[in-house]
Symmetry: C2
Subunit: 309 residues, 2 copies
């Protein structure tokens, strides 16, 4: 059994390749839920949805999120009722949010709801939210403190970042099965996701980082940063705001207490020696850009190889 | 000021014609809410929506309900999550239900929510739900007791009707402005709606029937039955189930305690003498089928004429 730790789009694309070389029943994915929020009375879990839709073959491949061919009649009409519609919920997508919200109101835990959605959509990979408890990733900016979705989607990541807080993380417990999956894994993969808000949120849950440090299974991460820039998303702005150099080296340093192997892009090969020398982490250099399913598969093969498979 | 009492599609079509000859600010419509129900955690008010969408110019004219050009991605996806989708909520339509539900949860009354929706959609007619209190039209059938929507939409009105109950009607009060509108009206129009479940539900609210009996303003109704059959809907099955002959005469008899004038279709002209003779209600015979806007307008003119306008 392999465990992958995942944010949204980057992780989902990586997992598409991984499932070319690993059986779905041999994979558990632990997903960031710090981005979750409520809108229009609905509980929305962006990263869980991206991962689930992608593995169900439903995702809008162009955008990397949402459902392909979805329509936006609901949002169009809602704007007539005076609502802000910056978070682009499609009509089909909305069914997921409403279903999840109804099940949560009935008292189910987020992990149970996630299992139900996966079952309904035919996803055989085990997808676990990092926690069933509410954790909210808040971004401190020069314009004030705001939820990550407001920072990213509503305001287009334009505000200078002063800090990141994971509200509720101290009280939150890993969801059922998370620690067991890490303990029993043959190998653990940290997907190419935002190290601050995606992987950082998962690591903020007490017990997860400790389990990663403790495990004897190899831990490998794929850098989401190539040549000083994220492939997707605002990782550069967040890293810079927290005082980190925007580089694969910084990502490795954020994981250095539990990481065995770090996979970086060949365009960053000059960083290999520094990471190995200063951080004591083994480095694999390959093409990490995932521009095709074939490229994703090759990256997955290199990843599995680093785990001794 | 005129007051119209309305169910769904038949009333909405009549009101389109009425607004060709009456200013919107001179009209108050009291709408049946006995058909209201909750589905997917949303408060749905079918007759309010039909009337509002029609007067906003948004209605799907072919069906008489829903929003023209609406899509059904939400319901399609919801069926993948295992839900029944017999009540055909469109994606745009859904925005109305969600908006209404959110406002009700915030503590607004249904009449306030209705006013907000009308304002947002540019409807200048004053639309009042018959009551802000929950009233549920339940149909007693050979297959058991069920909500009207289940009887009509889910089961296609196939069950033999044994009776009709308006749950909550005894405790329900007319919504603010309903009695005042009736008292102050120049004339009152009972739209061509189902006399049992639409107009019947409105009349079941204590105070409304009494106000209609008391007013000195003329009261006119348009028959929804032509040649022993309803133009639309299950009025025949409901009337027969309650032991009524399915005819314009029966409709007139249901309203005989407050009705001054009854407008029947020319195909039913042979009933005029019986209605006038046995019930003492003045009868106007005209074309009531509303097959075009011109026909609707002529029917509205005949209606206004009966009110002395």
């Amino acid at each position: 059994m392999f465990v992958a730790m995942a944010g949204g789009v980057g992780a989902a694309r990586f997992l598409q390749g991984l499932l070319e070389v690993v059986s779905p029943e041999d994979l558990t994915v632990i997903v960031n839920t710090g981005d979750d929020f409520e809108i229009y009375g609905l509980y929305v879990s962006p990263d869980l949805d991206i991962i689930t839709y992608t593995l169900a073959g439903l995702v809008d491949e162009g955008k990397g999120w949402g459902i392909k061919g979805d329509t936006f009649g609901f949002l169009d009409m809602l704007s007539r009722y005076g609502y802000e519609t910056w978070f682009r919920i499609g009509d089909r997508d909305l069914a997921t949010h409403l279903h999840r919200t109804m099940l949560l109101r009935r008292g189910l835990r987020l992990s149970q709801v996630t299992a139900d959605i996966c079952h309904r959509l035919g996803v055989q990979v085990r997808i676990l939210p990092m926690s069933d408890d509410p954790v909210r990733t808040m971004i401190r900016t020069e314009a004030g403190i705001m939820h990550f979705q407001e920072y990213l989607v509503k305001r287009g990541a334009k505000d200078a970042v002063l800090g990141v807080d994971f509200l509720g993380a101290k009280e939150a417990k890993p969801s059922p099965g998370v620690l067991e999956a890490i303990e029993e894994a043959y190998g653990i993969i940290v997907c190419p996701s935002n190290p601050i808000v995606s992987i950082g949120a998962i690591l903020s849950i007490y017990g997860i980082r400790q389990a990663l440090r403790r495990t004897r299974a190899p831990v490998v991460a794929i850098s989401p940063i190539i040549m000083g820039a994220p492939v997707k998303g605002p990782a550069d702005k967040l890293m810079r705001g927290l005082g980190f150099e925007v580089s694969a080296f910084s990502v490795a340093s954020l994981y250095s207490d539990f990481l065995d192997t770090f996979i970086i892009d060949f365009r960053d090969s000059m960083l290999a020696k520094r990471i190995e020398g200063e951080l004591g982490i083994k480095v694999i250099v390959t093409d990490t850009l995932m521009t095709s399913l074939e490229a994703k598969k090759r990256l997955a093969e290199a990843t599995l190889h680093s785990l001794g498979r």
